[in-house]
Symmetry: C2
Subunit: 336 residues, 2 copies
């Protein structure tokens, strides 16, 4: 592989001038710039990352921590990831994924080593659950970190206002004339699930509607659990006229279950989701849902972590960026 000296030798310029061209510094003549650029191309040169890291004392790479549960509810996570990747692509930063829960990733010492060895400069964490042990490590060691999809105290976060978004969904249903509304809830130890469930009951209370615990379906943010437990409700209980699912995957699981029992959507029951994953518009009927700008959240988080890393996280005050949500009206909710 070609090095900076090869370019230097080939063009007759010193390595420093070559370095300047590569780094787009100024004070380089147009002539030098051209000649060196050509040589870079001809020799197919790319800067040696290790050498750069060594001298810069920075790795120019961001670690993305995901937990196993995320991998399961994959659309959600993939969309965010895409936003992160494409934003980072425009900067000088690389991305490394770490799957946590596996015994040897994200352990306290591992995490610190990554930072200390200048292996990575900062972390992005997608929707950690409430009691995630490594979050404490991240916090006490002041490691540059941005969280996506959860509003963790003391951290930089990119999140939606779950309360507001849930009110949006429920009041939409109410406006459509629904008075009996059920909830398909997410994983119990996740912030988003907790906040949405809380907002759900608050909203119903506020509008003086009955809160019927029978209509709380455990979905764990998963397709299968939502499906199975919806079936159970159908077979053993009575149905509300509308259902609010804390994510789209569960909404879809529920819809499939309803269909398999010949229950029409939205004819017999309406359903609204949360997220607006790709699948939402592809299923029958297309799913009405609360859109989270997942892709943009990924982008925003990427920008923020780069900012933190560049300015030094110690100097900046933690802040949480709240993204807007909106109802995407499709065909799974009908007016009563």
């Amino acid at each position: 592989m070609a090095t900076i000296s090869d370019i230097s030798r080939k063009t007759g310029y010193s390595i420093m001038t070559v370095s300047r061209v590569i780094n787009n510094s100024k004070n380089v003549s147009e002539k030098a710039r051209k000649s060196i650029a050509k040589a870079v191309k001809d020799l197919n040169y790319t800067p040696n990352a290790a050498a750069r890291r060594l001298v810069k004392q920075k790795s120019q790479t961001i670690g993305l921590i995901i937990t196993y549960e995320q991998i399961f509810s994959s659309y959600y996570f993939l969309t965010i990831m895409k936003g992160i990747e494409e934003k980072l692509e425009k900067t000088d930063y690389n991305l490394i994924m770490y799957a946590s829960n596996s015994p040897n990733v994200a352990s306290e010492s591992k995490l610190l080593n990554l930072i200390n060895q200048k292996f990575i400069d900062g972390f992005l964490v997608i929707a950690p659950s409430k009691d995630e042990f490594f979050m404490k490590t991240l916090h006490t060691n002041k490691i540059p970190t941005v969280i996506i999809g959860a509003s963790y105290p003391f951290f930089n976060c990119v999140d939606v206002d779950n309360n507001k978004a849930t009110f949006l969904a429920i009041e939409y249903l109410i406006k459509k004339g629904h008075k009996s509304i059920g909830l398909i809830r997410g994983t119990k130890n996740r912030y988003d699930a907790i906040e949405r469930e809380k907002a759900f009951t608050e909203c119903l209370e506020k509008h003086g509607l009955e809160i019927n615990r029978m209509w709380f379906i455990d979905g764990h943010f998963e397709y299968r659990q939502a499906h199975l437990n919806t079936l159970k409700l159908i077979d053993e209980g009575t149905l509300p006229t509308a259902l609010f699912a804390a994510n789209d995957l569960m909404a879809i699981g529920s819809i499939d279950a309803l269909h398999s029992r010949s229950i029409k959507i939205p004819g017999d029951i309406s359903i609204i989701g949360f997220d607006d994953i790709d699948l939402a518009k592809l299923i029958q009927p297309p799913l009405t849902t609360v859109k989270q700008p997942l892709y943009n959240m990924g982008e925003a988080a990427a920008s923020r972590i780069v900012e933190l890393v560049e300015t030094g996280s110690k100097k900046t005050v933690s802040q949480t960026i709240r993204m807007d949500t909106e109802i995407v009206e499709r065909e799974s909710v009908r007016k009563l």
Copy 2:
């Protein structure tokens, strides 16, 4: 962060002796070793990865490429990954995950840069599909690579014998007295799916049993597709007495569908899976399946890639390691 010179200064030994202790070289006195080891601990020293990479011209890291489909069929992939991680943990190598299909990962140039910049030393790829574009790049550039869960020509692979494993499953069903057997097939462009389907028809032919195309259910290796399409078969067709699913996730999707139509397993229909994922033993009835030693496959692949990277892949001849499979008898198949 402490460096090797800090240790040197603190202990009075030269940096070279310190380096020797850190790398467990011999020709170091017990006294020096102890004194330095203590200082290492006291100063919480860890070697700077960038400096090492620079001088060694190696990154000591392996890239794991997974495609988005893998993320979906997550148990399979996670088990393999765990094997990889835990094996690599015992060596001096790090692991970086790359999710392909995202536009900016695994593109030709990106892949080459990773290698050229000494950012990673070699790749591990989990079950790439037949026409995966980056496999060509990997091959033509002679990049150290090991494939898991597919037998790609010209590559180092760790795989099972899908033909043999499928025969095992089908002949098990036949031995139990089944004569009408259906297939839940996987994603069409994946080697494992293709091989298992081929073996399925061959085995039926060999035993003079009818091959009924109506009983071929498309499952795409996914829970939901298998579920939906099983429902379709139940509602619109007749059922065989047994079903062979090309992976467990589909078997489970199918079982859930059957159950929701009050069809008893194994009473009314038997079903056998493939993989032996964790969920297999947890569902009702516990799933009889062909066990793939996924964890061990991950381990074996990790060992192999390290071997390739250390000895230089040019010198070694490609080989595919075949792991054994076995039937795990549980309760989803009954004797007719």
